[in-house]
């Protein structure tokens, strides 16, 4: 028994090691890419700092030396890598605060909003997909399929604008934006309720926008499984329809959904840029939207690096989870 387990676990750790190395390589690529993008394409950082205002040539030369722009590209790249690993992303043009501090303060809002929406859309979308597939070609299927397709085809921020005008401006049931009431000193339960009140509309928007993908993937995956012989056997045994569905069909159809969920979680941080802007939700998305208006390049650069790192990390996690759930992966 020991002998048979040995190669299997070695294969698995070999697979994981390969994936970790691949991820590191991707991270290096992102670093180089980021450097090239911002240091070479944007050829005149000093000029963009003052944007057309009249600055004496001596002052510009002084700043070029201070920023190390006269050094060779290799020296600049090395300095950039070193600073990145020290979490030094420079100073935001707009707030004059370190970029890293700005980013860190925006993370919780985004994780709360997009985290809630990601979980809700995955659960509701999967259930919808199961119902649609199991009752294929009935009115339920048609309603779910066309409904999700409609939500999938509209710009998510436009859906947010409509919900905001309808429920916040016209009906006045919800606040028009932000994370808490202005000037509110509420604490404890009252603060939590206030936050929930504010998060409702943006979370609803993102949930509606995301669930289509889950519903469609679940539906087609379950339809593939439904042709399998073991389901016919399960039905022939006289099992109830619900048992056949929930115990025999759905678990086998969920693997693609698990992958989709893991990959989507990587996009959690960058997923709601325009929607956060619509609802003035003070997260990374709104920070990105604000940085574009500048353009606040150090801020954009830092955000881009963070978004990429998050996706790389969650992709790695998805691969590792896949290796545990489906042992066949090792052979691939």
């Amino acid at each position: 028994m020991l002998a048979s387990e040995q190669p299997e676990s070695r294969g698995r750790s070999h697979f994981i090691l390969k994936k970790v190395l691949g991820s590191l390589l991707t991270l290096v690529f992102v670093l180089v890419f980021n450097f090239v993008l911002f240091r070479i394409v944007q050829s005149d950082p000093i000029g963009s700092l003052f944007r057309g205002r009249n600055v004496p040539a001596a002052k510009i030369a002084e700043l070029r030396t201070a920023f190390g722009l006269d050094e060779s590209l290799w020296v600049q790249f090395w300095a950039y890598v070193r600073q990145t690993f020290q979490l030094n992303f420079g100073i935001s043009y707009q707030s004059r605060q370190p970029v890293w501090n700005e980013i860190v303060s925006a993370i919780p809002a985004t994780v709360a909003l997009v985290g809630i929406s990601a979980v809700l859309s995955a659960v509701i979308g999967t259930i919808g997909g199961v119902i649609a597939a199991w009752r294929r070609n009935t009115w339920k299927d048609h309603a779910i399929t066309s409904g999700t397709m409609v939500f999938y085809s509209m710009p998510d921020f436009w859906l947010g604008m409509i919900l905001l005008v309808g429920f916040a401006v016209v009906l006045g049931w919800f606040p028009v934006g932000g994370m808490t009431d202005a000037g509110s000193t509420a604490t404890g339960l009252a603060l939590l309720l206030d936050r929930l009140h504010h998060i409702f509309l943006p979370a609803l928007t993102l949930t509606l926008a995301y669930l289509g993908e889950y519903a469609l993937v679940t539906r087609s995956s379950l339809l593939d499984v439904m042709g399998e012989d073991y389901l016919t056997v399960a039905k022939a045994k006289g099992l109830r329809d619900v048992v056949v569905r929930n115990r025999h069909a759905v678990p086998n159809a969920l693997l693609p959904v698990v992958t989709l969920t893991a990959i989507n979680f990587g996009f959690v941080l960058s997923g709601a840029i325009a929607v956060e802007a619509v609802f003035s939700w003070p997260g990374l998305g709104k920070a990105t939207a604000d940085a574009i208006r500048g353009p606040d390049l150090p801020m954009l650069q830092g955000l881009f690096l963070l978004f990429s790192a998050a996706v790389i990390f969650f992709n790695l996690l998805a691969d590792v989870a896949y290796a545990w759930l489906d042992p066949r992966v090792e052979r691939a």
Binding site: G22, T26, F29, V30, F33, L37, F38, V41, Q42, M149, V150, S153, M154, P155, F157, W158, M161, I162, L164, V165, V169, V170, V176, S220, L223, D224, G266, F267, S270, I273, A274, A277, V278, T288, A289, I292, R293, P295, L297, L300, Q301, L303, F304, F307, S308, A310, V311, I312, N315
Partner: protein, 297 residues
Amino acid sequence: MTSLAMQRRRATAGRVLGQFRSSKQGVIGFSVLLVFVVIALAAPLLADVRELNPVYARASGNPQWASPGEFGALGTDHLRRSVWVQFVWGSRVSLFVGLAATILTISIGSVVGIVSGFVGGRPDAFLMRITEWFLVIPFLPLAIVLASILGRNVWNIILVIGVTSWPSTARLLRAQVLTVKQRLFVDRARSLGAGNGHLVARHILPNVSGLILANATLAVPISILTETTLSFLGLGDPSSPSWGKTLEEAFVNGAMVRNAWWYFLPAGLGILIVVLAFTLIGRTLEEIADPRLGRSR
């Protein structure tokens, strides 16, 4: 080309057309799209482009924030411009950027996918590494960063969408080319002395062209939605306003707080309907290109 091959090709085209016509979703999608293409092409006849200029709109005495009942078909905005005129001319930009970006996406993706799948070996490994990198980098932030650096005009937006969204096409085509390459007729042609160029042009391409077409149609919605989001975030071309740009201006200038629904509903509906139309057409083409899909849908 022999007349026999011509005949066969014409027969295939006729069969695809017949299959497409018999699909309800395909016909609906196509008809809806046709309406919007006509609107976009006939823009100069339908709406006076001068109305897009705030100075002209003021001089012609348009009211500000007029609702559809008070002025024209769709009312006016904060600068007294007719929303209908913005809708008609915006359709032009949105459709053009969507199609042009898709052509770029599909071209890059097809070349990478076909070269990778057909040549194999080291070039394949190298190209697939790069494809994987581009797949991993979050697409919208990358587009935002590129657009911010390159500057705000239509061609940059097309370029940005093209270089950020090709990887999935490349992967799909590579997989398809790998299976086509194994088929007997490729071996046969090769042993008859066919070169690589001939093999790709005459044997590989015809067998993946259906897939390319279906993939392209399904890529248009992504291009249009990306353009909309980029424009909404302020990266659109100020001189040729798209539907996304209209949404941005409505949002920035307080149309929502005023409940000026006529300002932001039409542009969003236009995007929704065009995207749905392309999706319906794309799904129909996909089912024709890959008949196995028909059973499961």
